[in-house]
Amino acid sequence: MDYSLVVAIELVREVAGLILIATGLAVIFGMMRVINIAHGEFMMLGGYTVVLTTKMGVNIWVAILILAPLAVGIFGVIVERCIIRHLYGRIIDSLLATWGLSLFLIGFVTVVFGNTVEGVSNPFGGFAVGQYKVAGYTFFLIFAAVAFIASVYLTLKYTKAGLIARATMQNSDMVEALGVNSKHVYMATFGIGAAFAGLAGGLLAPISGVVPGMGALLIGKAFITVVTGGAAVVAGTLSASTILGSISQAVTFATNPVYGDAALLFVALILLRLLPQGITGRIFTRSI
């Protein structure tokens, strides 16, 4: 009984982890059809922001919840102004340019901070489930994932900015004709997507540590989740994270994490063979 409870918690944690790393990417992809390959490095920057600011004596919650998304969000806006904005409509070129950015950032951070793992102390203790022990931070991550999804959903559904964003997604020419500068919408979207990435990086820093190459370990899952989910930000991320996360975690329990990752990819390939536009390309097509 205790064991199955622990397994269930771990399954939910894996799903939550996928939601955390994929949301920022999904926001950008759903809106602009741009896959930001430097997404993993944005998370890495978020992690480093937390490491640096806590070393300087900033409270860890301020560092994770405010400074990491703020810093990476601003960085995202700069990137959009300097690179991405020249490449709208050239999907492949934007992929290549963000890949260049990703390599550059890994190299740059390696030169500045060195190729070593930087740690942040975990702000929560653990507590017991029967004879097992579960980290309190796990529950915080699950809560954060719920907050991610809820905030995106509520913003898109109930605010004026969300309305404009959804309209731009459907028909950017019409939105322009109605007097909205869609360039500003794209800039803001990219910044928000980057901020989500920074927040995710900050949130994951206490459990996984921070290394310059950490992006490469995370992005694979994030990309495949977003692509499997399809264009709808909330429904896509949620459904793909749930399916892929639970299958990969189940395989991980049965064997080891590497086969878990392989299983995640294999299931995603089969899903894409059946639903080439992603899950929300065929099912839940009218959702956000």
Binding site: W99, G100, A216, V227, L265
Partner: protein, 342 residues
């Protein structure tokens, strides 16, 4: 029309002649170290050709060409260590990569994935291969006599022998000539393929997929073939890399290798076969020189070049240079039309 065709073949003949001259004279004129260095360029050029073909002439942008490079290298390593000879392992590496490309291509092309989706799937497949092979450090991962070794790599891979002399390991200069011959043959074969009916259909798919399929061609099958051919060439390059270094480790699968391959092709010019070879030589030489400085890291250079190419030089070095020469030539002749016949 006729003159265009003959101009094309003139270019090919020119490149082949240069290649043959390099093949014959380089081992005579340069010392051992430089021949070894150039052997590396030859292997990487073949690798670049694999992507140059599928991207430039089939419109398939694979972000995971390193997957075939690594897979070919490991297949060669494992089978050569087990069999004690190298000709059949070389063919096995090519076949293995062709099969893997066909299997992956089935999922991608018959699922009608394109641009973003294709890029992401190829990228992630390579990432997973990299993780899987990194994980094989334990003693239980052994195939016949060969231990996979995980992140430690596979050491002491046999040096390739000539197919007709299976008992004699190649000298460095022989290896250079053998690899150069393979590169020239693959270059010519690809050129024939591009000029054949198959190649023309492939180019029309690149230009307009829907129209081609409405004309009655099975786009999925054509793409599958193109991708498989690209995979096979990538695998051959991987096997040659393994025997050249007599060592292979999981970094052959890394994103850095995939990115390098893309950068060579982009720098040389998408849609040419000769350009990417120029790209390999220019950029490898550049990173060798820049790598000697201590403050610049290889990834910073690669990333900067990639962003620079995408933003400022989307056509690539070789086509930009070629167009410039043609323009100057036409101006010198007082020609009126600035348009280049294509």
């Amino acid at each position: 029309m006729l003159s265009n065709i003959s101009k094309d073949w003139l270019g090919v003949g020119f490149v082949t002649a240069i290649g043959l001259a390099v093949l014959i004279f380089v081992p005579m004129l340069f010392d051992l170290f430089e021949v070894l260095q150039m052997t590396k360029y030859v292997v990487l050029s073949l690798f670049a050709l694999s992507l140059a073909y599928i991207w430039g002439f089939g419109g398939i942008l694979s972000f995971g060409q390193a997957g075939f490079f690594g897979l070919g290298g490991y297949t060669f390593a494992v089978s050569a260590i087990n069999m004690g000879q190298t000709t059949i392992p070389f063919l096995m590496a090519i076949a293995m990569c062709a099969l893997f490309a066909a299997a992956l291509g089935y999922f991608m092309f018959y699922g009608r994935l394109n641009d973003v989706y294709l890029g992401v799937v190829t990228l992630v497949v390579t990432l997973i291969l990299w993780k899987l092979i990194n994980h094989t450090a334990g003693p239980e991962f052994i195939i016949g006599k060969a231990r996979l070794g995980g992140f430690n790599g596979v050491p002491s891979i046999p040096i390739m022998t000539l197919p007709w002399q299976p008992d004699m390991e190649m000298e460095p200069s022989q290896m250079f000539q053998y690899f150069m011959a393979i590169l020239i043959i693959v270059y010519l074969l690809l050129h024939f393929l591009i000029k054949s009916k198959f190649g023309r259909v492939a180019i029309s798919i690149r230009e307009n997929e829907i129209r081609t399929s409405l004309l009655g061609y099975d786009v999925r099958l054509y793409k599958l073939w193109i991708f498989t051919i690209g995979g096979a060439i990538g695998g051959a390059a991987g096997a040659m890399w393994a025997t050249y270094q007599t060592f292979i480790d999981p970094n052959a699968f890394s994103l850095e290798v995939s990115a390098k391959c893309l950068i060579w092709v982009m720098a040389g010019g998408v849609g040419t076969l000769f350009g990417p070879i120029v790209g390999v030589i220019a950029l490898e030489y550049l990173s060798l020189k820049l790598g000697e400085t201590s403050f610049l890291n290889n990834l910073i250079i690669l990333g900067t070049i990639l962003m620079f190419l995408v933003l400022l030089l989307p056509k690539g070095l070789f086509p930009t240079f070629r167009d410039l020469v043609i323009k100057l030539w036409q101006r010198a002749r007082g020609g009126t039309s600035g348009e280049r016949p294509s």
